[in-house]
């Protein structure tokens, strides 16, 4: 299935892209994150354990067990803390 991935703030800079269309077999948010970390480099670092970020599925915050469906928009964003 295909997911519309969106990355925000530091992650957008770090991944070098703000969005992508992702072909995946991941059925949950947790599986998707495992798959993205396997890309290595900044993907492994930024989405690694101990990093604070949230995932939203179709504009609603999602937990690791949240199910993913074809065509979902999956957004990953860190807290912005500056001001």
């Amino acid at each position: 299935m295909k997911l519309n991935m969106v990355y925000f703030a530091r992650l957008k800079d770090s991944f070098g892209t703000g969005q992508e269309s992702l072909e995946t077999d991941a059925t949950s948010v947790a599986e998707l994150l495992v798959e993205l970390r396997l890309r290595g480099g900044n993907w492994a670092t930024e989405l690694g354990h101990g990093k604070t970020f949230r995932v939203a599925c179709n504009q609603e915050l999602a937990g690791p067990d949240s199910a993913l469906r074809d065509g979902d928009e999956v957004a990953i964003f860190p807290p912005v803390t500056g001001g």
């Binding site: 604070t52 504009q59 609603e60 957004a75 807290p79 803390t81």
Partner: protein
């Protein structure tokens, strides 16, 4: 409630013409007490708009001093402010704009105890701070004091905005959105760029939410607004209370 004199009716006439605010809303603003944490990039538009909008009692807390590199985006300060405490500098500008309001400048970094004591003396908190630890401290004070919080954040080309209201049963707090544990640096380098008007966008949105709340309108809760200045996109994400939240779940 505070009566508005002729000069005030004229000064605030464009507010009073709005049925959503009207004289009653303007009187509520005049009677309101607001605590603004941070008088930097976000605090600048917040301070200017709350002062011009006629919020009667504004407390500003910032322990920092105005430097030349601040003036690119911290528009409440100017060349004459260099070397002055940011809260004091903002206070002077706010009173020049509107002498009918009262402004307290706290040139200190508020400890958790001081923050809670101050929160209890105010109707609304505005988080215009520049770090994650302070954001969580302000959130804890908001929940403990039962005072609503308008949170804004901005760095580089990205901004975030959310409103929290612990008076609304079951509504989420900042910790429900972003847990305190973990690494949260805004980026890989020690100092970050900030697009000048980005803090104006987010700070102005904070001021909009503050004025609406103080005028008596209920804010939309459980909604995080993300702004990307490069693409020009606004996106909104819904979130709910974390049943295991150590800050608000037991409150």
């Amino acid at each position: 409630m505070t009566d508005l004199n002729d000069a005030a009716l004229l000064r605030y006439s464009r507010h009073i013409l709005l049925p959503e605010i009207d004289i009653e809303g303007q009187q509520r603003l005049a009677a309101s007490r607001v605590l603004v944490i941070g008088a930097g990039g976000l605090g600048s538009p917040v301070a200017l708009y709350l002062a011009s909008a006629g919020v009667g009692h504004i407390t500003l807390a910032d322990d920092d001093v105005v430097e030349l590199s601040n003036l690119q985006r911290q528009v409440v300060h100017d060349m004459a402010s260099l070397g002055l405490n940011k809260a004091e500098s903002a206070r002077a500008r706010m009173l020049a704009l509107n002498p009918d309001i009262a402004v307290r400048a706290l040139g200190e970094r508020l400890s958790a105890d001081r923050l809670l004591a101050e929160a209890r003396q105010h109707d609304l908190l505005l988080d215009c701070s520049d770090n994650f630890a302070t954001r969580h401290a302000v959130n804890r004070a908001s929940v403990a004091a039962g005072v609503p919080l308008v949170s804004g954040a901005a760095v580089r080309l990205a901004g975030q905005l959310a409103v929290f209201d612990p008076r609304v049963a079951g509504s989420p707090c900042y910790h429900c959105l972003f847990a305190e544990e973990g690494e949260v640096s805004d980026g890989p380098c020690a100092t970050f760029g900030v697009l000048s008007p980005l803090v104006g966008v987010i700070g102005s949105l904070q001021a909009v939410e503050a004025v609406k709340l103080l005028a008596g309108r209920q804010a939309v809760l459980g909604r995080l607004t993300l702004y990307d200045a490069l693409s020009g996109d606004f996106r909104q994400m819904k979130f709910t209370r974390d049943p295991a939240c150590p800050v608000c779940a037991a409150a």
